[in-house]
C-alpha cells in the first residue's frame, strides 16, 4: 500500500521499545555521547507522539547529522573501520527514528535495527548475548506487524505475542538452515572489532620490570579430552618460546618466525583432544607437547608451537593430537644450537660465574640441570606475584638477592644459568594446569594459569622440559595459583567479585562450573560451527557429503518442516468442527447407502423430502431429523447434538441394515 500513510501507534510503540533493546548490548563499547543522543531523540520522539512537539526541521536534522559525524570522528579517530561504522549505524538508527513519519521510514528503521542487532554479535557472541538479542528481534517484528494493523483494536501485547509465535515457528527451519547451509570462507577481508583481548601471555617477558603481576580470571581456552584427562602436573600448554635475551627482556628470536618443520618422532600413546580458544588477537595456538592439528592454515613451527596464518579474532575450535613421549630433535644442527646459547655481551657476572662453576662440577647436562633445580628447592626461594623490582643485573639480583618472584623470574634465571653453563636452553611460555569441570568433562584454562618454564637440549635426548617453579612452589603446579598464594592473598586482587574467589562456597562453585559448562557447549556447538565442523558433523550423520546431499537435506527437510507446521496451523482434521454439520454428513452418508444421494446445492429440507419419498417407510424418522437440524441450524434454536444424534439413531434402526 502507500508508503506515505501514517505509522500506526502500535508500531511506533514497539519501535521505541526495540530501540532500547537494540542499543543496550552496544552500551559497553559505544561512546557515552551516543547514549545522550539516544535519550534526547527518544524523549523528543515521545513528545511528538504525544503531540507536544513537532518533528525536527531540515536545519536541526542537518545539524544532528553533522554533529554525529564529528562526534564519531572525535571519539573513534575515523569515519571508516568497524568501530566507527557501528557507531554510525547506531546513530543512523537513532536519528532515523526521530525523523520518521511514514510507513516507509518505519521500514527503514526496522531494517536498520536488524543490522544493528547483527553488528552487536561481532562484539559479543556469548550465550547470554544471543538469548538477549531475541528480545529486540521480537520487538522489531512486532513493529513490522504493527504496520499492518489498523490500530484501533490492536493490542501491543497481542502483537508481540504474534511476533514471538512467528519466531518460535521459524525455529525448526532455522536450525535446519543452520546445520545444512554450506559455510563459505570469507569472501573478502573485513575489519574486525578491536578486541580488548586480555591475555596472560605477551610476545615477550621482562620479569625484572614487573613490580606486581595481577592476572585476570578471564578464560583463555577450554580443552576436552577424548580419553582420560591427564593429571594436572602434566598439563603444560605450549604457546611460544623465548630464545633471545637482551639483559632484561626475553623475546622470540627472529628465526622462530620462520616455518621450519622440526625433526621429531611420534612415540608412546597419543592424546586426542579439542580446544575451544577465546579470541586472543595473537596467532599462536595452545597445545600440549608435541602437537599436530588438522586446523587449516596452521603449522608447527621450529620451536614446536602451533602457529595460525592469522590472529585468532573469533572463538576458535580446533582438534589436536599430542605425543607427550615424543623425542624432539635428538640431533640438532650447530646453527640452531648456537641460537639457544645466546647471552648478552655483558652483565650478570655472578650468574655467569655460577654457570661456569656448575659446568665444572657436573659434566653431565642432566646432572647439572638437577643441581640447579635442587638449588632452587634447597635455598630460601619464594613464590610471589609482588616481586621486588630488580636492578641492572636482574638475573644476579634475583638469584642472589631478592630470591622472590614468579614463574617468569625462575624460568628466565634458569635459562640464563644453563646457557652460561653451555647447555642450550630456552624459555617456554604458555599455560599450566587448568580447572577440571566434572559436569562437562573438560579443562578450563584461565589467564591466571599463564606460566613460563624451561626446556634444554641434550644430545641424543633432544629437548627436555623442566619447571623450576615446581621446585619453589609445587602447589602452584599441583593445585593451582590460588593455593600458591594463600599467604599472600593476592589471588585475583583486582576483581573482588569474581566468582573464582569464592570457590570454597560449594553451591556457588557448582553454579559457576555449570554455567561455564553451558558456555563451553555453546562455543563448541554453535560458535564453532564453521566449515570443518560442519563437514565433520554432516559426514558423521550422512556418511558422504556433497552438494546433492546438502540440497536434498535443505529442500527435503524444509518441505517436511513446513508441511508439519502447515498441519499444525490449519488443523484440517478440525475442519468439520461444527457438530451439527458433522451429524448431517452422517445422515447424508446413511441415506447414501440406501441410494438417496444429495444433489449439489440441494437444501436439507428438499433433500429430506426427496428421501422420504424414496424411503416411505422411514419418512417419519427422516423428517424428524431434518426438522430438528433445520430448527437448530436456521431457526435459532439452541444447538443440541444429543437430540440430533437420537433422531439419527432412530433412523438408523428404522432402516434395513446395509
Amino acid at each position: 500500500m502507500s508508503g506515505q500513510a501514517d505509522i500506526p501507534r502500535i508500531s511506533l510503540t514497539w519501535l521505541l521499545v526495540a530501540q532500547l533493546l537494540v542499543i543496550v548490548p552496544h552500551l559497553s563499547h559505544l561512546p557515552l555521547w551516543i547514549v545522550g543522543l539516544w535519550l534526547g531523540c527518544a524523549a523528543w520522539r515521545i513528545q511528538v507522539l504525544r503531540m507536544r512537539a513537532g518533528y525536527p526541521n531540515a536545519w536541526v536534522k542537518a545539524g544532528l547529522l553533522l554533529g554525529t559525524a564529528v562526534g564519531v570522528l572525535l571519539s573513534r579517530g575515523s569515519l571508516i573501520g568497524l568501530d566507527a561504522g557501528v557507531v554510525l549505524l547506531v546513530a543512523a538508527f537513532i536519528l532515523k527514528l526521530l525523523e520518521m513519519r511514514t510507513r516507509r521510514d518505519a521500514l527503514v528503521v526496522i531494517f536498520l535495527g536488524f543490522f544493528v542487532v547483527v553488528s552487536a554479535y561481532l562484539f559479543d557472541d556469548s550465550l547470554l548475548a544471543a538469548l538477549f538479542s531475541l528480545l529486540p528481534v521480537t520487538a522489531l517484528l512486532a513493529a513490522l506487524i504493527g504496520l499492518q494493523q489498523s490500530g484501533v483494536a490492536a493490542q501491543p501485547w497481542a502483537t508481540a505475542r504474534l511476533a514471538a509465535g512467528l519466531l518460535l515457528q521459524a525455529v525448526p527451519l532455522m536450525l535446519l538452515l543452520f546445520v545444512f547451509f554450506p559455510r563459505l570462507g570469507p569472501l573478502w577481508s573485513l575489519p574486525l572489532p578491536s578486541e580488548r583481548a586480555v591475555s596472560g601471555l605477551a610476545e615477550s617477558m621482562a620479569p625484572a620490570d614487573i613490580a606486581e603481576l595481577s592476572r585476570s580470571g578471564g578464560l583463555a581456552f577450554r580443552a576436552s579430552f577424548a580419553g582420560a584427562v591427564p593429571p594436572r602436573e602434566q598439563l603444560y600448554w605450549r604457546a611460544l618460546t623465548f630464545e633471545h635475551f637482551d639483559g632484561r627482556r626475553w623475546s622470540q628470536s627472529a628465526f622462530a618466525r620462520l616455518p621450519q618443520v622440526p625433526a621429531w618422532e611420534k612415540q608412546g600413546e597419543p592424546l586426542h583432544y579439542s580446544i575451544v580458544m577465546q579470541p586472543s588477537s595473537q596467532s599462536w595456538l595452545f597445545a600440549l607437547d608435541v602437537a599436530e592439528t588438522s586446523l587449516e592454515n596452521t603449522r608447527q613451527m621450529s620451536d614446536y608451537r602451533l602457529q595460525r596464518g592469522r590472529p585468532v579474532e573469533r572463538t576458535l575450535l580446533y582438534q589436536v593430537t599430542s605425543w607427550p613421549a615424543a623425542v624432539r630433535e635428538p640431533a640438532a644442527s650447530s646453527d640452531s644450537l648456537r641460537r639457544v646459547l645466546q647471552l648478552p655481551e655483558d652483565g650478570d657476572p655472578r650468574s655467569r660465574a655460577w654457570g661456569a662453576e656448575l659446568k665444572r662440577q657436573y659434566p653431565q647436562p642432566g646432572q647439572l640441570v638437577q643441581a640447579v633445580l635442587s638449588h632452587f628447592n634447597r635455598e630460601p626461594f619464594g613464590y610471589t606475584l609482588r616481586p621486588p623490582r630488580l636492578g641492572l643485573n636482574s638475573i644476579d639480583d634475583f638469584l642472589f638477592e631478592s630470591r622472590n618472584g614468579f614463574c617468569a623470574h625462575y624460568a628466565g634465571a634458569m635459562t640464563f644459568v644453563l646457557r652460561a653453563a653451555g647447555i642450550p636452553a630456552r624459555v617456554v611460555a604458555g599455560y599450566q594446569g587448568g580447572e577440571y569441570n566434572p559436569g562437562g568433562d573438560y579443562v578450563q584454562v584461565r589467564q591466571f594459569d599463564a606460566h613460563a618454564w624451561v626446556e634444554y637440549w641434550q644430545a641424543g635426548k633432544g629437548w627436555v622440559s623442566v619447571d623450576p617453579t615446581f621446585q619453589v612452589a609445587p602447589e602452584r603446579i599441583e593445585l593451582g595459583l590460588e593455593e600458591a598464594l594463600v599467604d599472600e592473598q593476592s589471588f585475583l586482587e583486582g576483581s573482588p567479585f569474581s566468582p573464582l574467589r569464592y570457590r570454597q562456597l560449594t553451591w556457588l562453585n557448582q553454579l559457576r562450573l555449570g554455567w561455564d559448562n553451558l558456555n563451553h557447549g555453546w562455543q563448541r556447538l554453535v560458535l564453532g560451527y564453521q566449515g570443518a565442523q560442519q563437514l565433520e558433523l554432516l559426514q558423521r550423520w550422512f556418511g558422504r557429503i556433497d552438494a546433492r546431499v546438502l540440497a536434498l537435506g535443505l529442500v527435503g527437510g524444509g518441505g517436511l518442516l513446513l508441511g508439519l507446521l502447515a498441519l499444525w496451523l490449519f488443523k484440517p482434521w478440525q475442519r468439520a468442527r461444527d457438530p451439527q454439520q458433522r451429524l448431517f454428513r452422517r445422515f447424508e452418508r446413511l441415506l447414501a447407502r440406501h441410494a438417496v444421494l444429495r444433489q449439489p446445492g440441494e437444501g436439507a429440507r428438499a433433500f429430506a423430502e426427496r428421501a422420504a419419498l424414496a424411503l416411505p417407510a422411514q419418512a417419519q424418522a427422516i423428517h424428524d431429523f431434518a426438522a430438528a437440524f433445520e430448527a437448530q441450524r436456521y431457526a435459532g434454536q439452541e444447538p443440541c447434538s444429543a437430540l440430533l444424534r437420537a433422531h439419527l439413531r432412530v433412523l438408523r434402526r428404522a432402516l434395513p441394515w446395509r
Binding site: 536488524f114 543490522f115 547483527v118 557472541d125 528481534v137 499492518q148 512467528l166 560458535l527 524444509g558
Partner: protein, 318 residues
C-alpha cells in the same frame, strides 16, 4: 497482444473462481507473492548473510536464517489470514448517474479471525477491515456511477499483507453484483403527452384555490420554461408572466411522454427521471410512456422504482 492476454486471464479466472453471490476463499482461489517490502527484506537478509560469511560469525548466520525462516513461515500465515474467509454480496442500492454506487459486502469468518483484509477495485480506493473470529464485518465499497443501466463492478480484489507486510495474498472475487444506475435527474419542462393541455389549464386554476397546500399552481416564468405553458389569462389580468406548474395538478394523472420531448435520448431520459421523482414525492399518480413501453398510471414506491428501472434500462440490451 495485451488485450489477448487479459482476455485469457479473465477466462482463466472465471473458470477458477466462478462468479457467485457468496465466495469462500480457498486454496485454489488464493495467490501469494512477496511484496516490494518483501524483496527489500530479502535483500537485507542477503546483506546479513554476507556479513555472516565474511565475519564467520555463527550468530549472524543464525539470525539471518531465523529471519529467512520467518519469511517462509509468513507465507503460511499470510495465506491463512485470507483462507476460509467468506465474502457475500449484501445488496447494492440503486443510484443516479453522477453519484457513488455503493456495493455492500459481508465478510464472514468461519473459524479464526482475519485481520487487515483489504478490498477494492483497482480503480478505486481500497478499504481495510478486520473480521473477528466467527464473526461478521460489513463493508461498503463504492464505484462512481458514470452511465445509466447496470453497473457491474467486475472482479473485486481481496488482499491481505498481514502479518508482516512482506507477502501479499490475494484473490479476484466476482460476487456477481450489479447495481442499477438511473439517469441523472434534470429539471426541465414537463413532458406531457400531447392533447392534455387544455384540461390542464382548468386544473391549474383549480389548484390555486384555498385547498392548495405548500405549492403554487402557478409560478413565475423563467427563461427556458415552455411557452406553451404560459398562463395567458393571468397575464391579461396584469399578474405578470406566470407558468402553469403542473405539480399542482390533481385529479387527473399526467402522462409523462418520451416522445413529447426534444433533444437526445439521455437528456430526455434525465428530464423524465426528474419528473418521475417529483411526481412520486408528491404522491401523484402518473403514467410513463416510453417507445415500446408503457407504464400505466399509478403511484407509490413500487411504481416509481418500476419507472426508474425502465428509464435506466431504456435502450440497453436486456
Amino acid at each position: 497482444m495485451r488485450q489477448l492476454l487479459k482476455r485469457h486471464w479473465q477466462r482463466w479466472l472465471s473458470r477458477r473462481i466462478p462468479p457467485a453471490a457468496s465466495v469462500r476463499l480457498t486454496q485454489r482461489r488464493i495467490f501469494i507473492v512477496p511484496t516490494r517490502v518483501g524483496v527489500v527484506f530479502a535483500l537485507a537478509l542477503l546483506l546479513m548473510l554476507l556479513a555472516a560469511i565474511n565475519y564467520q560469525n555463527s550468530l549472524a548466520y543464525a539470525l539471518t536464517f531465523l529471519l529467512a525462516s520467518v519469511f517462509i513461515v509468513a507465507i503460511l500465515h499470510t495465506y491463512r489470514n485470507l483462507a476460509g474467509l467468506v465474502l457475500k454480496a449484501a445488496g447494492a442500492p440503486s443510484v443516479f448517474v453522477g453519484e457513488q454506487g455503493p456495493f455492500r459486502l459481508r465478510l464472514e469468518s468461519s473459524a479464526r479471525a482475519h485481520q487487515a483484509i483489504t478490498l477494492g477495485w483497482p480503480s478505486t480506493a481500497y478499504q481495510t477491515r478486520d473480521v473477528p473470529a466467527q464473526g461478521v464485518s460489513e463493508c461498503e465499497l463504492s464505484l462512481p456511477a458514470l452511465r445509466r443501466g447496470w453497473l457491474r463492478p467486475g472482479r473485486l480484489r481481496v488482499e491481505s499483507r498481514f502479518p508482516l507486510g512482506i507477502l501479499v495474498a490475494w484473490s479476484w472475487v466476482d460476487l456477481d453484483q450489479a447495481l442499477l444506475v438511473y439517469p441523472q435527474p434534470l429539471e426541465g419542462e414537463l413532458p406531457l403527452a400531447a392533447g392534455a393541455d387544455d384540461e390542464l389549464d382548468e386544473q391549474g386554476m383549480r389548484a390555486q384555490g384555498p385547498g392548495s397546500e405548500d405549492f403554487q399552481g402557478l409560478k413565475r416564468y423563467q427563461p427556458g420554461d415552455s411557452k406553451r405553458r404560459l398562463h395567458w389569462k393571468a397575464y391579461s389580468r396584469g399578474q405578470g408572466l406566470l407558468v402553469k406548474d403542473f405539480a399542482a395538478l390533481s385529479g387527473r394523472e399526467p402522462w409523462l411522454d418520451f416522445e413529447a420531448l426534444a433533444g437526445d435520448v439521455e437528456l430526455r431520459l434525465s428530464l423524465l427521471c426528474y419528473w418521475v421523482l417529483q411526481l412520486s414525492e408528491r404522491q401523484q399518480p402518473f403514467a410513463l410512456c416510453l417507445p415500446g413501453q408503457l407504464l400505466a398510471p399509478a403511484s407509490g414506491e413500487q411504481h416509481r422504482d418500476a419507472c426508474l428501472r425502465a428509464l435506466a434500462l431504456f435502450g440497453t440490451p436486456a
